[in-house]
């Protein structure tokens, strides 16, 4: 176990964040808190992707005309970053939609607690 913590600390962090997000979504009854959990979960995945791109002693993958190009190994992998940029957009729009929904729910039921909403729906 110690090895893992030592050599792959980023994976451990990702797992912890992921599980934490899910835990919040399950356990918290407040609708906004659930969204927080959801966002934590999404973020953990971004973290995972970004860590995939990391190389030791590498630089950012930008080739300026003024700088001579290095060997490909010297750059960090740019693709995950690009992907995560998109994923962030997606996540943000999801969050936006969900918050709008929560607002509508609040207008409808005057509460954000799951129990109470379910109670009122009966």
């Amino acid at each position: 176990m110690a090895d893992i913590l030592l050599y792959r600390p980023h994976f451990v962090a990702f797992i912890i964040l992921f599980l934490l997000g899910i835990y919040i979504m399950v356990v918290c009854l407040n609708l906004v808190k659930k969204l927080i959990g959801m966002y934590i979960m999404q973020t953990s995945i971004m973290l995972f992707f970004i860590t995939l791109a990391v190389k030791e002693d590498s630089t950012i993958p930008i080739i300026l005309p003024s700088v001579t190009a290095l060997a490909p190994e010297a750059y960090a992998n740019p693709l995950p970053h690009v992907l995560m940029l998109t994923a962030i957009v997606v996540g943000v729009s999801t969050l936006g939609v969900s918050l709008a929904m929560v607002i509508a729910l609040y207008r409808e039921y005057n509460t954000l607690e799951e129990d109470q909403i379910l109670e009122k729906m009966k």
Partner: protein, 490 residues
């Protein structure tokens, strides 16, 4: 021209979705013609795309001048062409049907309805066409966002189910993305065709296994595969009647398509049956899903909820078909997918019509269809019979191919599951008929009952026609599937 076809397929509904709010701002009445026009166009183009793909092999379109595997690639081959045709045609019919309903129940939200529907269709098209895994994710999320909103657009009770759908859908999408990350970590590519070449070398890695499991889990949530179907019944039940035909018919089918694409094209048949025997597991899951979904449907009083559980059951059957591991099974699954798309659109359309005219939402209320709505009733009868699997409808041939596939694969549990499901399906649909023609005299009808609006009648008629036509043309469709859809490796 032809090489940019995939682009067109996405662009048509997408631009329509953008144009609608702009135009609708000035004249709300234009939304509908624009949307329908775009979809007619889309249908025509997708049919052309399918025929091109069949006659000349897959068409691919690269974006931004980058060649795959680095660039983004959109592909239209037999499978995606078929799906594309199904999506465009069924959504056209669904939107035709939605016309009167939208005006009645979403009178203030006509613009968002059409705009979002088209966005949803565009996203679904994108998923079908996408040639790489991450693109698929993006369209998955766009489509999901649109459908979350469509579910909740009427407000009230539907909001909560939309919220639930959203939470669970996001978890699914995240899991999918995670799985894609694992694949990427192992193979260093996201393009499906490229990945298919690289995967065999790294199949021993547990990362691939883990990634596959995540992807399957994520897509299972999206497609409402039992036991991860939790969002589905509520969402279908409370979503506005104008949206359900569209949602129920295609939204869950496309994630399933994604799964099929990954399992059979990226991994290949041999891998998913032997090295990573995920199909065996999914076969059992599909069997249980089919039975449990049908069983739960029996006890539903709300008609749309019954249909929702019926969707769960169908999804199980389709999954069962794909997981049989034989050509016939695969083709049967695909055929049943197409059939179910039509049948669910028709059934939810009937539900919409019933609620439009009589406010009928329960199975018992359907008895009112007996008065004054013979055509809707006929559509209900035929599509229900197709669900049950009475020849010569599409549903029958779907089950037919599934059973043949299961027998050829010598998977007898699958045979039993299909038969039990059929029996349970018969139970709840015939129970429905029993209520429709119950001995009790009809409840007093509201004094002024409208004539069923023509768009509803027409769209139901067209769907019913297609249900029968697909059944009778089963041979052609199956021939097409065998010829140009079945992946290698069987």
């Amino acid at each position: 021209m032809t090489s940019s076809l995939p682009g067109f397929l996405f662009a048509i509904p997408f631009f329509a979705a953008i144009v609608i709010p702009v135009v609708g701002f000035t004249n709300q009445k234009l939304c509908r013609p624009i949307a329908l026009g775009a979809l007619v166009f889309l249908s025509i183009v997708s049919v052309i795309g399918l025929s091109e793909a069949i006659s000349h092999g897959p068409l691919s379109h690269e974006f931004g001048g980058w060649a795959p595997p680095i660039g983004i690639e959109w592909v239209i081959d037999g499978l995606s062409g078929l799906l594309m045709v199904a999506i465009s045609v069924v959504s056209l019919i669904a939107l035709v049907h939605a016309g009167p309903l939208v005006e009645k129940e979403l009178s203030g939200r006509v613009i968002p309805f059409y705009s979002l529907s088209l966005l949803l269709i565009a996203a679904l098209g994108g998923m079908v066409l996408a040639g790489d895994l991450f693109n698929l994710f993006v369209f998955l999320e766009i489509g999901s966002l649109a459908s979350y909103v469509l579910v909740g657009v009427a407000g009230g009770r539907s909001l909560l189910s939309a919220y639930r759908y959203l939470i669970l859908g996001t978890i699914g999408a995240s899991l999918y993305l995670l799985g894609v990350g694992y694949f990427y970590a192992e193979t260093g590519t996201l393009n499906m065709a490229d990945m298919a070449l690289r995967l065999p070398d790294v199949l021993d890695s547990r990362a691939v296994l883990t990634g596959l499991i995540f992807i399957v889990l994520g897509l299972s949530i999206k497609m409402g595969l039992f036991p991860l179907h939790g969002w589905l019944p509520d969402a279908y039940t409370y979503a506005p009647d104008s949206c359900t035909p569209l949602l129920a018919s295609v939204v869950t089918k496309v994630p399933l398509y994604a799964f099929v694409r990954i399992a059979f094209w990226v991994f290949g048949m041999a891998t998913v049956t032997t090295q990573i025997p995920i199909l065996v597991v999914l076969g059992w899951v599909g069997a249980v899903a089919a039975i449990v979904g049908a069983y739960r449907a029996i006890w539903q009083e709300n008609f749309k909820r019954m249909l929702a559980y019926s969707s769960v059951s169908s999804m199980g059957l389709i999954m069962l078909g794909f997981s049989l591991g034989t050509e016939t099974g695969f083709a049967g699954g695909l055929f049943y997918l197409l059939a179910d798309t039509l049948m669910k659109a028709a059934l939810f359309g009937v539900a919409g019509a019933a609620s439009y005219q009589y406010g009928a939402s329960t199975v018992t209320d359907l008895a009112r269809l007996r008065r004054n709505m013979p055509w809707v009733l006929a559509a209900l009868v035929i599509s229900a019979l197709s669900m049950v699997g009475i020849p010569p409808t599409a549903g029958f041939f779907g089950k037919w191919h599934l059973v043949v596939g299961a027998l050829e694969a010598e998977k007898y549990f699958a045979v039993v599951a299909i038969l039990v499901t059929s029996m349970l399906t018969a139970l709840y649909f015939f129970r429905m008929f029993q209520r429709v023609w119950a001995e009790e005299s009809l409840p007093l009808v509201e004094p002024h009952v409208l004539e069923t609006p023509f768009p509803i009648k027409m769209s139901l008629g067209v769907l019913t026609f297609w249900i029968i036509a697909l059944g009778l043309g089963s041979d052609l469709v199956m021939g097409l599937i065998f010829e140009s859809v079945i992946p290698k490796g069987f």
